[in-house]
């Protein structure tokens, strides 16, 4: 997978498969950030994406939206997946008190739904996944943009 990636999926299954593709890219390249910020409206397929992503690291996990629990942990053999729902997070105190910052230090990949709510806390280097619906004649179609975000200086150093 190269970044930025602009893709179109036509079903939840395809969105899920794309999540798995990103997981493979992250598993294969340890220099990629292990933090993925998801953006997109209700019902757009964020959880489907996470389900596909998680299938690589934790094949038996039952991936559901962590609406109530705020974070779901899917244990992997080597790498675990931490799945956040930031919909109800309003400020830094709330983020701190769900242990968000502690998860960043653990050996796992963090995925955050409703990342719009925690832009102030996103790591400098992370992967952003934008999922958008298409015009009404294609109710199941999604355009998905996957971007690698990193500070300019680091980006140059890596290219050199």
């Amino acid at each position: 997978m190269t970044f930025p990636a602009n893709l179109v999926t036509n079903s939840a299954e395809q969105t899920e498969a794309l999540g798995a593709t990103l997981a493979e890219a992250i598993a294969a390249d340890s220099s990629l950030p292990r933090f993925i910020a998801l953006y997109g409206d209700l019902g757009v397929g964020k959880t489907a994406f996470v389900r596909g992503f998680t299938s690589l690291f934790s094949p038996n996990a039952r991936v559901k939206s962590p609406t109530f629990a705020l974070v779901n942990e899917y244990k992997g053999e080597k790498i675990s997946v931490f799945h956040f729902d930031m919909y109800r997070i309003n400020d830094e105190d709330e983020l701190y008190s769900i242990g968000f910052y502690d998860y960043l230090d653990r050996n796992g990949v963090c995925l955050t739904e409703w990342s719009e709510n925690i832009t102030f806390a996103l790591p400098d280097r992370h992967i952003a996944v934008n999922i958008e619906k298409c015009p009404e004649e294609h109710p199941d179609r999604r355009t998905i943009t996957i971007t690698l975000l990193q500070p300019e200086a680091q980006y140059r150093a890596r290219k050199d």
Binding site: D91, E92, Y96, S97, Y101, R106
Partner: protein
């Protein structure tokens, strides 16, 4: 008197068994696991080496913050449980003071720093005469640049200690720093026990129910700034 001390306030989990100020055993783990899964097995193994039972411990000590939210809670909950079950006293000590105790032998200014994220640190300041520590600044949360300004006012070398060592060191511009080897940079439960012994002599121990934690969150002003940035990003 036997003290069992734990520190799970940051990346490492540490447990120590001490008797009358002497270290019997210390177990420190840095494996990125959750402390909830490692701390009790560590304590159990420490006790078993000395054929001791929880009931043989006279005082339970914990670094009760600042630190990671879950880490501080795990340490405090563990000590509360052990103290409750055995009916013995416990004591919560400042994570930052315990860190400074790592360098108690080291004359000069000692500044414990813990990474509070987003260019902030939990910090305090102590001076050691090579034997005892004198506190110069209360436990605080502040920007690294602000700490740099405060420390540089002293016009002397400062030794940083704690898991904020790297982020703080690279964020400093004015303060003269003295290098500290990795070996003494991290939380050590023996240091927690040493502070606890001092507190015990000053009769500052408490019951399990009285034990409190102190998260020492960044100031309201900092939080409001974050809120503003969030709003700006939304617009």
């Amino acid at each position: 008197m036997k003290i069992l001390a734990v520190d799970s306030s940051a990346l490492v989990a540490s447990a120590a068994l001490c008797e009358d100020g002497k270290l019997l055993a210390e177990y420190t783990l840095n494996n990125k696991n959750t402390h909830s899964e490692t701390l009790l097995p560590m304590i159990e193994s420490l006790l078993s080496f000395f054929s001791l039972d929880v009931k043989d411990i006279d005082l339970f000590a914990v670094s009760s913050g600042p630190g990671s939210f879950t880490g501080v809670r795990i340490g405090a909950a563990t000590v509360k449980g052990l103290a409750f079950a055995s009916g013995k006293a416990c004591v919560g000590v400042s994570t930052l003071e315990a860190l400074a105790y790592n360098l108690r032998f080291h004359r000069g200014l000692i500044c414990p720093v813990m990474n509070a994220r987003r260019s902030q640190v939990y910090t305090a300041l102590f001076r050691s005469d090579g034997e005892t520590l004198t506190r110069l600044m209360p436990d605080s949360a502040m920007a690294i640049s602000e700490l740099d300004a405060i420390l540089s006012e002293y016009g002397e070398e400062v030794t940083l200690v704690g898991d904020g060592y790297d982020v703080t060191e690279s964020g400093f511009e004015k303060t003269k720093l003295r290098y500290l080897p990795e070996r003494v940079r991290h939380q050590s439960a023996f240091s927690v026990a040493e502070v606890a012994l001092k507190e015990y002599r000053e009769e500052k121990t408490c019951t399990d129910a009285e034990l409190c934690v102190d998260y020492l969150r960044p100031s309201q002003a900092e939080r409001e700034r974050a809120e503003r940035e969030k709003q700006e990003n939304k617009n």
